[in-house]
Symmetry: C2
Subunit: 196 residues, 2 copies
DNA sequence: CCGACTTTTGTCCGTTACGGTAAATAACGG
DNA sequence: CCGTTATTTACCGTAACGGACAAAAGTCGG
């Protein structure tokens, strides 16, 4: 149950409602962890049952009342214990990779379309990371533990998106070369600063 | 259900038993898709029920009889249809990243240990990718669609592991710098040449 | 003004996926 | 005899995902 711990991690920053958490999982932490609002509400109930978080109802006029969740000391401890256990490296599980593995049994045209969409997707995300980096860390330095973690995360994210975007480009190139009859895939590893 | 399709993708190469598939999911395709043998057997039953694969029992003396599964034409079609649908970009879901997000609420020592373990893990995997690359594609070129896909995959895998390993190293460096009291994270290689 | 749509805050229910434990069967190696 | 390799399968619990619904107030268009 890592989703629960991801929520606890979010709540270390400030108390939040399920709705705000859902928003958060759509931006910052959501860059590497997807969860929709139902999942979050369900997980919140479990965490509350476990005593890891505590909900305080805030009466609102006009809108339905909201439940602001705060980490309890038990929750903090649980998070620390969870964080002290060795992490398990996650596997990628990307459909695209499976398709490439069976490249000669599938249709290339839709694949090409897909690769182009993905290229755009990863470029967008890369730009987004860079934008946030420039805004939050214009000096490229962090002050304090929390900032350090987020800076590291943003840099990793940016590089990852860059890498995948490059990969999509190369795959498209190779596919073109292939359908053009040549059987050689261009480029080799290392840097490859795009010709702009 | 992408696992089912991953299995179909594997079976395009050659007919296999559940046992062999489990092995495969421990090496080649398993580099980016984890699945243990129970999952695979379960999925195989479903695929057989759906008529996407067909099992042929091979009587063995000494060992339990084995069931060799072959793709049916329906299975091939299903795979092609699946591969023609746009892929959904997968999110990372790595515990380590969640921990970094809550860096100031967790203990650094176990994190450091974990980072070192992960560094080694990703270096090993990188070496493994490079080894396979050198063996299967000494020229760095592919002949034929199937080879192209696998070459691309291996290169992506190698780069990915390299990147994550580098990330672990940087995180460790930054953590050391931090506990040494300085609050500045050293500049990374590559871009970002802001400060002198 | 009415109806449609969005925002905010959730709940319910069903399916898919994952993972631990275990068991049956039989050769081979130490 | 015990452990490992090979092979398949069952049972069971939890984690994760995702569609639909609810309820009440806000905003926009006709």
């Amino acid at each position: 149950m890592a989703l629960g711990d991801a929520i606890l991690a979010c709540l270390t920053e400030r108390p939040m409602t399920g709705y705000e958490l859902a928003k958060t999982f759509d931006s910052s932490i959501g860059f590497f962890w997807k969860a929709d609002h139902q999942q979050i509400y369900r997980e919140l109930s479990k965490l509350r049952d476990r005593g890891h978080i505590q909900g305080r109802e805030v009466v609102q006029t006009g809108k339905p009342n909201k439940l602001v969740y705060t980490l309890t000391p038990e929750g903090r401890t649980a998070l620390r214990h969870w964080a002290a256990r060795p992490s398990t490296p996650a596997s990628t599980k990307d459909d695209l990779l499976v398709r490439l593995h069976a490249l000669d049994s599938i249709d290339i045209e839709p694949l090409r379309t897909d690769l182009m969409a993905r290229l755009e997707h990863h470029r967008d995300r890369h730009a987004n990371y860079e934008r946030i980096l420039k805004k939050r860390f214009p000096e490229g330095t962090a002050e304090g533990r929390l900032d350090l973690g987020n800076l590291l995360l943003l840099r990793l994210g940016a590089r990852h998106e860059q890498m995948v975007a490059d990969f999509c480009e190369e795959a498209l190139d190779a596919l073109s070369a292939m359908s053009g009859k040549a059987t050689v895939v261009p480029l080799e590893d290392g840097k490859r600063e795009g010709k702009g």
